[in-house]
């Protein structure tokens, strides 16, 4: 189920990346792909009926189905923060591009795409 949601979101992101001529729209498509991939990786570690991976007083029922898998969560925690760095750097670059070329359209820039 969640696999389907994230794959459809990735498809929408790729579609936006291919069709939109505005650079800011392409950055937003990249952000959508980022979120979708994170959802996909978390879904790969979900165990039906599992608990959140935090030790509490009650001991988990024996092994199978005790926790969800904590390793994808740690990886996604890294991926989210790096995504912020990438998107902020992209936004800063776009501010400069706008100052230089006066617009963000890929096909109307001087010296680009001709």
């Amino acid at each position: 189920m969640v696999y389907w949601i994230s794959i459809i979101l990735m498809g929408i992101g790729i579609y936006g990346l291919l069709t939109q001529k505005n650079l800011f729209k392409q950055l937003i498509s990249l952000a959508i792909i980022d979120t979708a991939v994170n959802v996909f990786i978390i879904a790969a570690g979900y165990v039906e009926g599992g608990k959140a991976p935090i030790y509490t007083k009650a001991l988990p029922s024996f092994l199978k189905g005790a926790f969800v898998d904590p390793l994808p969560q740690a990886l996604v925690l890294t991926a989210i923060v790096i995504g912020v760095g990438v998107l902020a750097l992209g936004a800063a670059l776009l501010v400069r591009v706008k100052e230089k070329h006066k617009n963000l359209d890929v096909e109307n820039m001087k010296g680009v795409g001709e």
Binding site: M1, V2, W4, I5, I8, L9, I12, G13, Y15, G16, T19, Q20, N22, F24, K25, L27, I28, S29, A31, I32, T35, N38, V39, I42, A43, G45, Y46, G50, K51, A52, P53, I54, V68, Q73, V76, L77, I80, V81, G83, V84, L87, A88, A91, A92, L94, V95, K98, E99, L104
Partner: protein, 81 residues
């Protein structure tokens, strides 16, 4: 119950993503992207990942939207001069 909520969240995310890609104004697009991030927080909670959920809520939905809005505001400010 949980499955129905997950399906609803997926529907909202898909509609918001299509709107974010196809909207005419970039401001609408940024807000729709933030909606996608916020609903994905619910998916993370449904998949028992509270750590990722709190990080996505503060970093992905909060800071990225703020940075995009500030960058957009700078661009708009440059337009009027």
């Amino acid at each position: 119950m949980m499955t129905a909520l997950v399906v609803l969240a997926g529907a909202i995310m898909t509609v918001a993503a299509v709107f974010a890609v196809e909207a005419k104004k970039i401001l609408d697009s940024v807000i729709a992207m933030s909606v996608v991030s916020l609903v994905s927080v619910f998916l993370f909670i449904a998949m028992r990942a509270p750590d990722v959920a709190i990080t996505e809520a503060s970093v992905g939905a909060g800071l990225v939207t703020a940075v995009f809005l500030v960058a957009l505001f700078r661009m708009k400010g440059g337009d009027e001069e």
